[in-house]
C-alpha cells in the first residue's frame, strides 16, 4: 500500500468529490455506478474510469463491501507485550512467525508491541497467545473487543 502523500495535482475536484462520496457507500441496485453518476452529474463511464484510476494511483485502497468480520465466524483479539529493547527483534520474529498475527505495530509505550490475532475461534486465540508467552517468556495482555462503535471516519480528499 502507498504510504506517501500524492502530489497536489494528482486529483482534480471531481476526483476529490468522488472520493468523499464513495466513502458513504453506494446503493445495492443493478446499475449503482450509473446512479452515482446521475447524482454527481457524471456519466457512468466517467465514474468507472475515475474509480479505476483512483485505485491505480493508490488514492483508494479498496472499493467494495465492508464486512463485519465477526459475522463470518472468526475471532479477533488485540494483544500487547512489553518487550525489552535488546530482545525486540528476536521476539518480533517469534511473534510474526504465527500466521494468526494479522497486524503488528511497534508503539511508543512501556507496552511497545501491539498485534491483532485473527483466529477461527476464541479457544484458538487463547492457544496462540499462550504459545507466544511460552516461546518468548513475556506476558501477552489480551484486549478482546467488548463493544465496537459505529465509525464516522471520513478522510477529506
Amino acid at each position: 500500500m502507498r504510504r506517501t502523500p500524492l502530489t497536489p495535482d494528482a486529483l482534480d475536484d471531481i476526483d476529490r468529490a468522488l472520493i468523499n462520496r464513495l466513502q458513504d457507500g453506494i446503493l445495492v441496485t443493478q446499475t449503482p455506478y450509473a446512479m452515482l453518476g446521475t447524482e454527481m452529474g457524471l456519466s457512468e463511464d466517467d465514474v468507472l474510469t475515475r474509480i479505476e484510476r483512483l485505485r491505480g494511483i493508490g488514492a483508494l485502497t479498496r472499493f467494495g463491501p465492508f464486512i463485519d468480520a465477526a459475522a463470518m465466524g472468526g475471532a479477533f483479539c488485540l494483544c500487547a507485550m512489553e518487550v525489552p529493547g535488546d530482545r525486540f527483534e528476536t521476539v518480533l520474529t517469534l511473534v510474526n512467525a504465527h500466521d494468526e498475527v494479522a497486524h503488528n505495530y511497534e508503539r511508543v509505550h512501556r507496552l511497545n508491541m501491539w498485534f491483532v490475532l485473527a483466529c477461527e475461534s476464541e479457544s484458538e486465540i487463547t492457544r496462540v497467545a499462550d504459545r507466544i508467552e511460552q516461546e518468548t517468556g513475556i506476558t501477552v495482555l489480551r484486549f478482546p473487543k467488548l463493544k465496537e462503535f459505529f465509525i464516522g471516519f471520513r478522510v477529506p480528499a
Binding site: 458513504d24 446499475t31 493508490g58 507496552l111 464516522g152
Partner: protein, 162 residues
C-alpha cells in the same frame, strides 16, 4: 447474525473489490453461478443484518495526506462508557473505536479510539476534542504513537466455513 454457504461465496468473491462494470452484481453472479437478482437480494439482506456494513471506498489516508495517527486510550467510568464511546466513534477523525477490558494494574484503559490527522499537532488537537466529550467521566488517558509497522497481512476470509 449468520450467513450460509452462498452468502459466503459472495463475500469471498468480492473481497478484492466490487467489479468496476456497469452491472457489477451480474458479474459477481457470473463468477459463482448465481443470477444478478439473487446476488442483489442476498447482498441487500446482508446489509440489513449488518454483516455488510456498506459498499464503499476505503481511502488510503496516507495518500490523501493523513499521515499521522495515534491510538488514544481512556479510562472511562463503566456506567457511561457505552454512551460516550458512541459519541467518540461518530467523530470523523476516529477510524476505530472500541470498548475493551482493562488489564489492571498495568492497563487501566477501557476505551480505545484511533485518531488520524495530517500531522502530530492535528492528532493532539483531535485528542483534546475527545477529552472534552469525555469530561469528568474520564479518569486517566494516554496516547500511543506507532513507530513501525511490523506486520500487516490483513484479515483474509476463508473460502469455506469450518
Amino acid at each position: 447474525m449468520s450467513i450460509d454457504a452462498t452468502d459466503r461465496k459472495i463475500l469471498t468473491a468480492t473481497q478484492g473489490g466490487l467489479p468496476l462494470a456497469p452491472r457489477p452484481f451480474a458479474v459477481v453472479g457470473s463468477w459463482i453461478g448465481l443470477d444478478e437478482a439473487e446476488v442483489i437480494a442476498r447482498v441487500s439482506a446482508m446489509q440489513e443484518q449488518g454483516i455488510i456494513r456498506r459498499i464503499a471506498a476505503a481511502p488510503n489516508h496516507y495518500a490523501l495526506g493523513m499521515i499521522a495517527n495515534g491510538m488514544s486510550v481512556w479510562d472511562v467510568a463503566d456506567e457511561i462508557a457505552e454512551t460516550l464511546g458512541a459519541q467518540v466513534g461518530a467523530l470523523d477523525f476516529v477510524s476505530h473505536c472500541y470498548l475493551r477490558p482493562r488489564a489492571l494494574p498495568e492497563w487501566p484503559y477501557n476505551l480505545f479510539a484511533m485518531i488520524h490527522g495530517t500531522n502530530r499537532d492535528e492528532v493532539e488537537s483531535h485528542r483534546a476534542e475527545i477529552e472534552k466529550i469525555l469530561g469528568p467521566a474520564c479518569r486517566t488517558r494516554d496516547i500511543l504513537y506507532s513507530t513501525r509497522i511490523l506486520k500487516k497481512t490483513g484479515v483474509r476470509l476463508r473460502k469455506e466455513a469450518s
